[in-house]
Symmetry: C2
Subunit: 296 residues, 2 copies
């Protein structure tokens, strides 16, 4: 898939009045620790506290009139559920949100606030939302904004769960920059994308035992070909490395991000030799975390 800069501009402009152009943070001490210049793109400050609001908004904007009347439905354990509930509510569209019984109460409560129709179900991977082109294009706007403000980035580090964020990021990076490379970062315990990139076919996670609950989902079949086209490498990080990155961001930037979101920075810390002297964008994808239950 190859999307022109013009098409991405149209997506960005059509969404601009609904989504937040999230701030970018920098921190000298973190630069010193990593020996590179880091810009954090803070999607934890996006509406519904994650980048998924972009995906949901673009999906809603592309509904036809009949669909709008019928409302929307999604299966999600967390951030996409919140994002779709809020994006629908903003457009006066009815949403039905199906969440696994074992989703964190914290995330369920956030959804209840914005939808009247929360349905609980058993947790299975197959229940998850199907990734569509609208979602990918919505996600692309994170990197569109980032490269517009920082056209001299050498790398962008992006977490991988279902692959929708990195697919959108790759399309935007390809359209707007001729020097920047997107690198994926994934929890070692659910590294289906890392293995899929090696074998060139979709591999599956047999377990979902990572603290990065937003990344437990398996790689989507529409995202995968885009990842194969554009992504050359994926860094795997273990649970301690994820928690350490989350803690470092909390202590230095004073912001609390969710573990899934800390994964990208964990990749930078782990392979800092690779990024030495470079300018690196780090996508902080979400901030939905129970501040009363910190892992550090």
């Amino acid at each position: 898939m190859n999307i022109s800069r013009k098409s991405l501009d149209i997506v960005k402009i059509s969404m601009s009045k609904y989504v937040i152009n999230t701030p970018v943070l920098k921190h000298k001490e973190l630069n010193s620790i990593c020996d590179s210049e880091i810009v954090f793109k803070c999607e934890n400050f996006q509406k519904s506290a994650s980048f998924k609001f972009r995906a949901a908004t673009n999906a809603i904007l592309n509904l036809n009139e009949t669909d709008k009347k019928n409302g929307v439905i999604t299966h999600s354990s967390g951030n996409f559920a919140q994002a779709l509930a809020l994006a629908s509510k903003n457009q006066n569209i009815i949403s039905h949100i199906v969440m696994p019984k074992n989703a964190p109460n914290f995330k369920k409560n956030a959804v209840i606030k914005t939808t009247d129709n929360l349905i609980e179900c058993k947790s299975t991977l197959e229940d998850r939302v199907k990734t569509t082109t609208e979602i990918i294009l919505g996600n692309s706007t994170v990197v569109s904004e980032l490269i517009q403000d920082h056209p001299d980035l050498d790398y962008i580090l992006c977490p991988i769960g279902g692959g929708g964020l990195i697919a959108g990021s790759a399309l935007a990076c390809n359209a707007y920059s001729n020097k920047c490379e997107i690198i994926g970062v994934e929890p070692l315990n659910v590294n289906d994308a890392y293995r899929s990139l090696k074998s060139k076919k979709i591999e599956y996670n047999l377990k979902t035992d990572t603290i990065a609950d937003g990344l437990r989902t398996n790689l989507g079949d529409i995202n995968f070909p885009i990842i194969l086209d554009y992504i050359k490498s994926i860094i795997c990080v273990n649970e301690d490395e994820i928690i350490n990155a989350m803690k470092l961001i909390f202590n230095k930037l004073n912001i609390l991000i969710e573990p899934s979101s800390a994964v990208a920075f964990a990749g930078l810390l782990k392979e800092k030799e690779k990024f030495k002297g470079k300018k690196v964008g780090v996508i902080l994808s979400g901030g939905n975390v129970d501040s009363n239950k910190l892992p550090f």
Copy 2:
């Protein structure tokens, strides 16, 4: 004191390559809680994690060549010490920082990283830095930025310690807006500014027992006439109200701010009837807090 828009523009432009144009955050749920539209101006993301970096930078930029060679000295228990040490280092100027023996270790350690000359002394109020016009003008840029992005603000809530931030804010508000009013917020336990505004002469704090350590300092004599000119009301908040505001911002915005910084939002929560239906800017003045020692 009355400063023209043009003079403030010059200050802002001369400082713009040194300071961060800090992001503004919004949160729908906090809007609902307060029944008003809130924009948080996040100086906790400023360099050295507080607005004081603006004051220090402008002071450094206005030194003559002899002063630059001699270096600078300040007495401060916290944020201004960090700010001046960093601003001096950035301009290759030697700094001597005098800090009270009982200043938090957390803040001392931050200063040690950027100056070679930390001198410890006994804690007295008289030791504090003298507020100067450069400092006030440097501070004015917080509100210059805020009003530029949000010209329709009805009110801006600003914490008061020595009064340098609210004095600068008042000058900028007067120059850039014809409808916005600055309201001060102060801890009840150290409400020298509240009492001074009533009696029209500088009153003193006999105790400094507030968690908002950045606001323990007494009103400065250059700031006070500006406050008398422009500030009509000051809200006093108690210790529980400060901690509650800090916690609410942590839970909802996922950012950790220092207690002094939470004071402004505590004022909004306390007098929300007054701000009903209005658009209110809240200055989050700093983020220097030991994340291992939270008061909630």
